[in-house]
Symmetry: C2
Subunit: 228 residues, 2 copies
């Protein structure tokens, strides 16, 4: 779990804490950097593998042995980076939240609020269809407790929610989103596109391309089933 340097560092769980004390950098800066880069690269590989497995089988059916095998390292080495299976899942969620923040920031500055919301939903659906959206069971309480104790996760979630929440309110004020629906309901409805089973069913049916599926689900979400 956390490797603290002898110098005053506050708790952190990742490899960055393995960096040499700064006064030694002048002696062998390249080497240290390389070592750290290797560790970070491996951590990244671990998180990506976890992400993929979470998307494919879900938390309960994912085993730590599988993760280790997929990364190609020993299970004990996993526990040098992450102290529990829950931590692995949390790291995957933090990664996704980071990707989400990057996506939100990449939207054109002149985009209308509603267009932004649609773009967010589309992004989540595409990610899900690509098998890259980790979906955690909301029922597992030990997992929930772990997530709620994870600062990086909570921070990311709050930031993303605040940003999207602002767009929802703006869209309701400019009249493009139904103002009768509480903003929180709109937010949850958008979030739930990340674990919507409909895209998977349609994909399994084989009648539609991924693009068609995304647009169909977006249409049912924003326009509703009732005729307009």
């Amino acid at each position: 779990m956390p490797k603290h340097s002898p110098l005053a560092r506050d708790a952190d769980t990742d490899t960055a804490s393995k960096v040499k004390p700064k006064h030694l950098d002048a002696i062998a800066p390249v080497k240290v950097s390389f070592k750290v880069q290797m560790l970070q690269a491996r951590e990244d590989a671990i998180v990506k593998a976890v992400n993929r497995l979470l998307a494919e089988k879900g938390f309960d059916l994912m085993t730590v042995d599988e993760v280790a095998a997929e990364v190609g390292i020993a299970k004990a080495s996993l526990y040098k980076h992450f102290s529990s299976k829950e931590d692995l899942a949390a790291a995957a969620m933090v990664r996704i939240l980071g990707l989400a923040q990057a996506f939100l920031a990449s939207l054109p500055a002149d985009a209308q609020p509603l267009a932004r919301l649609v773009a967010v939903a589309r992004w989540m659906l595409q990610l899900q269809l690509a098998g890259e959206m980790p979906s955690l069971p909301s029922q597992n309480s030990s997992l929930r407790a772990n997530l709620m104790a994870n600062k990086a996760y909570l921070d990311g979630l709050v930031q993303v929610s605040d940003q999207i929440g602002g767009w929802i309110e703006a869209a309701q004020q400019d009249g493009s989103v139904n103002p009768k629906i509480p903003a929180l309901v709109v937010l949850y409805t958008l979030y739930s596109r990340a674990c919507d089973p409909v895209p998977g069913f349609l994909k399994a049916g084989g009648q539609h391309s991924d693009e068609e599926i995304v647009e169909l689900v977006l249409s049912s979400c924003f326009d509703g089933l009732r005729a307009r």
Copy 2:
């Protein structure tokens, strides 16, 4: 789960198959009937317990020991009725499908197609909020295989889907449901209300009553998020 009369029933795995051959009924009809009733009552208690636990914790987190404890019988007795954990889940699904069929049949004969669809969605949401909607992970492959091999489940699913599917097509023809959305997408969208996480989130938030939650989700489902 449907209880067939001793007359004209085909092979099945549940207790009903333990019924005495018909020609013996005249000899000791009361006794047999009582015995069978006890077995059926216990089976019913088992399936209801499974249903509740599936709704509460999901398939993966539900243990067979829990089921036995909840029913108040020995675990071994469970295996007299159902040969595997997957079978238990399948029985719960068959029961729910039976309830669904009864509900569909109870709708007034003069109800419009769209009104029927809304009623179905409302029924699923109410069941979910009441903690009585078993939701199975669509990822677990052994469970899926077991369900797909279960005739009673498939039959029930097909019957319900056919009935609702007919209403969807009628609603699209009378112009009340968007005809641009394939009927299958509409059907899946309705089904997915059974495992929609939004009601649970809203309930956990405590800002809305169950009735409000149902109507909010119905509105977002049928009217969409976009303003009309």
